[in-house]
Amino acid sequence: MAPRLPVLASAILLLVTVLSATAASPASAHDGDESQEGSLLVQQALGHLAHDPGPTGIDLAMEKMDDALAAEDQHGVVVDDVRAAEDALREGKVGQARHLLQGAIVDALAELEPATGEATGTTVVDRPLPGRYALTASDGWFLAASSVLLGAGLALSFRFRPRDTVRDMRRRLVGPRGPGNDDARPEGSEP
């Protein structure tokens, strides 16, 4: 009976884990207070477009641009450029919209103090830089050198393997019955 209890306990714990994972619902999202700073809202629109230039990102960017146009503080924001960017996005011209939005806040960004604390210091919001382009000649050399190291390491680790495996030692020290049998254990040794 005793060995079955741990199995039962494990099964119960697993069931609880799975039920918790599937039953719990996300905590209600806290929307947070929207910024009233027009230039930051324009930057947020740029952030959405940089992160996702697809339909979802465009919708989110449009929301931010609407918020920017309605913001109390539009200091340093060229409102016409923001409106032109909205028009460009409606036509699906994401690149043009990004260019217009970046230009719309040039004056605001020029007045930024050097970043302290948690300030981002961001002026231009670039597109993501992908990790991988086409392999170059240098990449080929690095790949070749790495493959040589990998092969050499594997060969040497095999060459330097221990003389005896744990199974060999167990057979020699404990006997054919293995560690579960106290009779097979050498005298004076603990399990």
Partner: protein
């Protein structure tokens, strides 16, 4: 049948080889032969060398990190751009950065595998409890290194990681003061995290690793649970074959070579991207996979879920040697420990997998 005896030139003597003479000369000055002490043979298989493999990954991180530091500018206005310039305009730095990224992943994985092995073989039990605690502390530092490293990219993902950190610091009150953005009002927090990533955390890791290794030397490698032990139950028996510690280092060197090569292949074929510069007030990215289990807790319980979940895990790890009083080391004879360990592992795995299917949700107070 006549026996053939080897002949010798008259007057010839047995002369030590050039290698032997070199080793003797180095030993006379550095005492390297002290490393020739006997170590139970089971210590040389891969599962029992994972700690050393983790240290090898750390060594790679140190070397590649020094190179990255030559070209990275930790000032917020330029951090992201300096990274872009480094990987596109400086020969070899794209590879070095990718190698650094993959070495960090490797260190995390091998550290967890090492922890798992130590848990499965009961190697944390008396008299090795202190060394277990040092290991848990190093795991915590490694997690912090991963966190600070992701922030240093200073892209949207890194910035959102920082924002989470700042809000958790607020939850901690006075205890979170170092993590508060206004702790040093003239120094951007990015610069302080850079200092933590390149000096404080690696420095602490080097110190703890040294202590960790010295304690392994002091206590001896723990006995294999399926082999007999000596009368104390804490050491391998005299009957178990031994090899010199230099053989352990030699095999570890081979593993390190293979690790470097494997990570180099990954660095060429799967280099990490660099995200757009950060914008405050957005929460649109997911954290690196290492933190997904925490963020599923955040989705369920809010920001404090990260704090309580992480805290509970590390508290449980630290308490393990003092709560588990079962003297057995073989896994079959430790049903409660195995059941609980499996439950924790499955829970963390489930929480991690769930994050892959979860949309990003606003949690931060913007």
């Amino acid at each position: 049948m006549a026996t053939i005896k080897p002949t010798r030139r008259s007057g010839a003597r047995d002369r030590p080889t050039r290698t032997r003479r070199a080793v003797d000369a180095i030993d006379e000055r550095l005492g390297i032969k002290a490393l020739d002490y006997p170590v139970p043979e089971h210590a040389n298989n891969l599962a029992w060398t994972l700690g050393g493999v983790t240290a090898a990954a750390f060594g790679l991180l140190l070397v590649t990190g020094v190179l990255l530091a030559q070209f990275y500018n930790p000032v917020p206005e330029d951090a992201n751009q300096s990274l872009r310039d480094m990987v596109t305009d400086v020969w070899g730095m794209g590879f070095i950065r990718a190698l650094h990224f993959w070495a960090a992943q490797a260190m995390y994985v091998t550290a967890l595998l090492h922890l798992l092995r130590v848990f499965l073989t009961g190697s944390y039990k008396r008299p090795r409890e202190a060394n277990w605690l040092i290991g848990v502390a190093m795991l915590g530092l490694l997690t912090l290194a991963l966190f600070t490293g992701t922030v240093l990219k200073w892209d949207q993902e890194g910035f959102e990681a920082l924002e989470h950190n700042l809000e958790i610091a607020q939850l901690l009150g006075g205890a979170g003061i170092w993590f508060a953005a206004d702790f040093a009002d003239r120094v951007p927090i990015l610069v302080r995290l850079y200092g933590a990533h390149v000096v404080i955390i690696p420095g602490l890791l080097v110190g703890l690793m040294t202590l960790h290794g010295l304690l392994v030397k002091r206590h001896g490698i723990s006995p294999h649970p399926s082999l007999p032990t000596d009368a104390t139950g804490a050491q391998a028996p005299a009957e178990e074959p031994t090899e010199p510690f230099t053989h352990h280092i030699r095999r570890l060197g081979a593993f390190g070579l293979a690790l470097t090569g494997g990570l180099g292949v990954l660095a060429v074929l799967l280099p990490p991207a660099i995200g757009p510069q950060p914008v405050a007030g957005l929460e649109i990215t997911k954290p690196p996979w290492n933190f997904w289990w925490m963020f599923t807790l955040e989705n369920w319980f809010g920001l404090s879920g990260i704090l309580w979940g992480g805290g509970a895990l590390f508290l449980a790890l630290a308490a393990l040697p003092f709560v588990d009083r079962n003297p057995e080391r073989l896994w079959r004879r430790r049903p409660v420990a195995m059941a609980l360990g499996l439950a924790v592992l499955l829970t963390l795995t489930a929480l991690t997998i769930l994050m892959a299917f979860t949309e990003t949700t606003q949690h931060l107070e913007m």
